[in-house]
């Protein structure tokens, strides 16, 4: 199982030092849209890469944005990752770009939309694709449970699941369900990669600010995932208020604990 983190320019110096125990990097495709093939080539020499999208908006009915898909495919071509991924979400509608991830209802109609889009992206990039669960402050209803939706989606799209452990934890707390029970309703063979970072609080709500150290209850949940499923990679997803090297090293040590599974 590979251990690594989401590549951010702010962490470039530390990443360049090739920290021990770090095997992989996840690149956010949109961060490389303007170019920067040199950085991609440099990183590909040192690490196993995965390319992660934020804005393909797989949950928007209708065709994918061709320009974004072109840009995404270009980054994939340059990085030559083991797999690619994006979210089970929409970031734009036919009327406007909302600029961030929003949840989709667990319906059969939505399942077809996302599965067809995921297959299209995978075929275009000639890479396996993983789909990621998001944090949602809206609890949307449909004709499927969330876990049935995810299992059927992975089957129809012939893809894996990028399970964001932090998002699962946050949603379970905000919407009052049991995360381990949810986990055991997911087809284990689909869970390929994990995302993790500490959660935050905003009043009564749990949120994902991507700026906190991983808490102990998240480590326990991630360990449960690793015991349940043949996970191939765990990546730390730190996006804001970047910490100093000792803190990053501690976070990587936590990923090693998760990999050990106990």
């Amino acid at each position: 199982m590979n251990i690594g983190l989401g590549y951010r320019r702010e962490l470039d110096a530390w990443i360049g030092s090739q920290p021990p125990d770090m095997d992989c990097l996840e690149l956010t495709a949109e961060h490389f849209f303007p170019g920067d093939g040199e950085t991609l080539a440099r990183l590909a020499k040192k690490f196993q890469l995965y390319v992660h999208g934020l804005g393909l908006s797989l949950g928007t009915p209708g065709p994918l944005d061709p320009q974004r898909l072109d840009q995404f495919a270009r980054v994939v071509r340059l990085a030559n990752p083991e797999w690619i991924s994006d979210h089970i979400a929409f970031t734009r509608t036919v009327e406007a770009d909302l600029g961030h991830l929003n949840p989709v209802p667990p319906t059969r109609a939505m399942l077809r939309v996302i599965a067809d889009h995921a297959r299209e992206v995978s075929e275009r990039c000639q890479k396996p694709i993983l789909l990621e669960n998001i944090t949602s402050h809206l609890q949307l209803t449909g004709d499927l449970s969330e876990t049935d939706f995810l299992n059927q989606l992975c089957e129809r799209a012939d893809c894996g699941l990028l399970l964001d452990v932090t998002n699962l934890f946050i949603n379970s707390r905000n919407h009052g369900y049991d995360a381990p029970q949810w986990l055991h309703a997911i087809e284990p063979g689909r869970i390929t990669q994990l995302h993790i970072v500490g959660y935050s609080r905003a009043g009564e709500r749990y949120t994902d600010s991507h700026s906190q150290p991983i808490q102990e209850e998240l480590i326990e949940l991630a360990q449960a995932v690793v015991r349940h499923a043949p996970v191939k990679a765990i990546t730390l997803e730190w996006d804001e208020d970047f910490p100093a090297t000792p803190v990053l090293e501690l976070e990587i040590a936590k990923l090693k604990r998760i990999r050990a599974g106990n």
């Binding site: 009327e95 961030h100 929003n102 809206l138 609890q139 449909g142 709500r205």
Partner: protein, 175 residues
């Protein structure tokens, strides 16, 4: 007008604070007014207004963070007032593509300038004006241009090449 799907309807709610207020008061009326597909109405009516508002605030915060990167001086001048002022503007204004973030910054600054011109950095305002224009060259002068807290006469020269990418050259005068 054709019926709209759930995603389009939720998108409208998330970017229009007035519509969210109307939905909180009368969800059925809003669902009818939006001409939502009958199959999508049950899911739409089950949206919890407080949750929709929370999600909408997350989107606003993302927009705000993008603007702060474009307007660091203005953000510094506004201080703690920046976020509430932005929310007041952005809750009912959603920028159109293309160049949505630039338009957003421009419209926000335009509103601030109507209220109190000194809140907006003149250099940043000039930059936005040029970036959104089709001009190939523009020169702006300021008698009291501020750089790193030092106030001096300042000249900004903007240029745009054949690729339509633009650049900026600026200098301050020591009198």
């Amino acid at each position: 007008m054709p019926e709209i799907d759930f995603i389009t309807a939720l998108g409208r709610l998330l970017r229009d604070g007035n519509l969210r207020d109307a939905y909180a008061a009368q969800p059925d009326t809003v669902a009818f007014r939006l001409d939502l597909r009958p199959d999508d109405r049950p899911a739409f009516r089950q949206l919890v207004p407080e949750d929709v508002e929370f999600q909408a605030r997350i989107l606003l915060r993302k927009r705000f963070d993008l603007l702060r990167r474009l307007l660091p001086d203005t953000d510094r001048r506004l201080g703690e007032k920046a976020w509430p002022l932005f929310q007041g503007y952005a809750r009912v204004n959603w920028p159109a593509e293309p160049r949505a973030t630039l338009r957003d910054a421009f419209q926000f600054c335009q509103l601030l300038r109507q209220q109190q011109p000194s809140l907006v950095s003149q250099s940043e305002w000039n930059r936005l004006r040029f970036a959104l224009s089709e001009k190939n060259l523009a020169i702006y002068g300021q008698l009291r241009g501020e750089v790193d807290g030092i106030v001096r006469p300042r000249v900004q020269i903007f240029y745009r090449g054949r690729s339509r990418r633009w650049g900026e050259f600026s200098f301050s005068l020591r009198l």
